[in-house]
């Protein structure tokens, strides 16, 4: 069982500092780190010539279409000026899973999963869209949701 402790220390400038200690790299500690990092991460996307700041938590999936990267949220589709690998490295969290050559899915936005023949998985997103995770990526997906990579 891993232990997590934290202390709030007031520094010399009168600002509160959070000191976070954990004994080993547990799933809980990783979730706290992901949360802190996620709060700072923002993506910039374009729609009809205007730029919008997107919170990665709002993204359902990111897809490459005609060599362009698009982020799909519940209400909008925004074009990103990054490649899929760059986005993957930038988000750097287990919940953004590379589910095919051209797609990253936000596992947190997956509503239900259905096992298909040939070891494929059908992921139904919050907006009702279906994403097929091929056999190549399905075994890693299973490991991720089981927590084997945490």
């Amino acid at each position: 069982m891993s232990r997590i402790n934290y202390k709030v220390i007031k520094n010399t400038e009168g600002i509160n500092e959070l000191c976070f200690n954990y004994s080993e790299n547990s799933a809980e500690a990783q979730a706290i780190l992901d949360f802190i990092n996620g709060r700072q991460l923002k993506l910039v996307g374009r729609l009809d010539g205007a730029e919008f700041v997107i919170n990665p938590d709002d993204i359902l999936y990111i897809e490459i279409v005609d060599d362009k990267t698009f982020a799909y949220t519940k209400s909008r589709v925004l074009q990103l000026n990054m490649g899929l690998r760059e986005v993957e490295e930038y988000l750097n969290s287990v919940k953004y899973f590379r589910c095919s050559k051209s797609m990253i899915v936000n596992i947190d936005k997956v509503e239900t999963l259905k096992s298909l023949s040939s070891n494929r998985i059908d992921a139904v997103l919050e907006n009702g869209e279906h994403i097929i995770i091929s056999r190549t990526y399905a075994s890693d997906f299973r490991k991720v949701i089981r927590g084997d990579y945490e």
Binding site: I107, S115, S118, Y137, R142, E150
Partner: protein, 150 residues
């Protein structure tokens, strides 16, 4: 985590699947053959007939996978899968008749025809059942994953 399956691995996965299928159907047909022999008070089986059986299940396994969309493992039975089910059953029946697996006994052949059809239906439902159990496991893991990252 970025895993690419090369052509050789893809072929090997398919080949193992076909060999597993060949073993499954061979044992089912062998069971029927042994029952037929026992009913007729024959206590030795022909190696030649068993060799014919394993070879035909292997060849039909290839046909099932490469031509008829692996119909016994399919998510649903549509045109191509249904024709695969009918054609493969007919091939087994014709082989049994012309290779004299049941001494050209028409009653045994008729029972064998029903047995093959029931066998395919059972295998289809076993895979369907397995996927249902897998659905539950996947969705439990997904719920746990979401709870961990919150």
């Amino acid at each position: 985590m970025n895993k690419k399956i090369n052509l050789w691995e893809r072929y090997l996965t398919k080949e193992i699947g076909i060999e597993f299928k060949a073993c499954l159907y061979f044992f089912a047909i062998l069971f029927f053959y042994c029952c037929y022999l026992l009913i007729n008070k024959i206590y030795s089986a022909s190696i030649l007939i068993m060799a014919e059986m394993i070879l035909s299940t292997y060849v039909i396994g290839y046909i099932q996978v490469w031509v008829f969309n692996n119909f016994d493992e399919a998510d649903e039975v549509k045109g191509r899968e249904l024709s695969g089910f009918i054609i493969c059953s007919i091939i087994y029946i014709l082989e049994a008749h012309f290779l004299g697996w049941f001494d050209k006994n028409l009653l045994a052949l008729l029972i064998f025809a029903i047995y093959v059809v029931v066998l395919y239906v059972c295998v289809f439902f076993v895979y369907k059942c397995r996927r249902k159990i897998d659905d539950k496991l996947l969705n439990d893991n997904l719920a746990n994953f979401k709870a961990r990252i919150k």
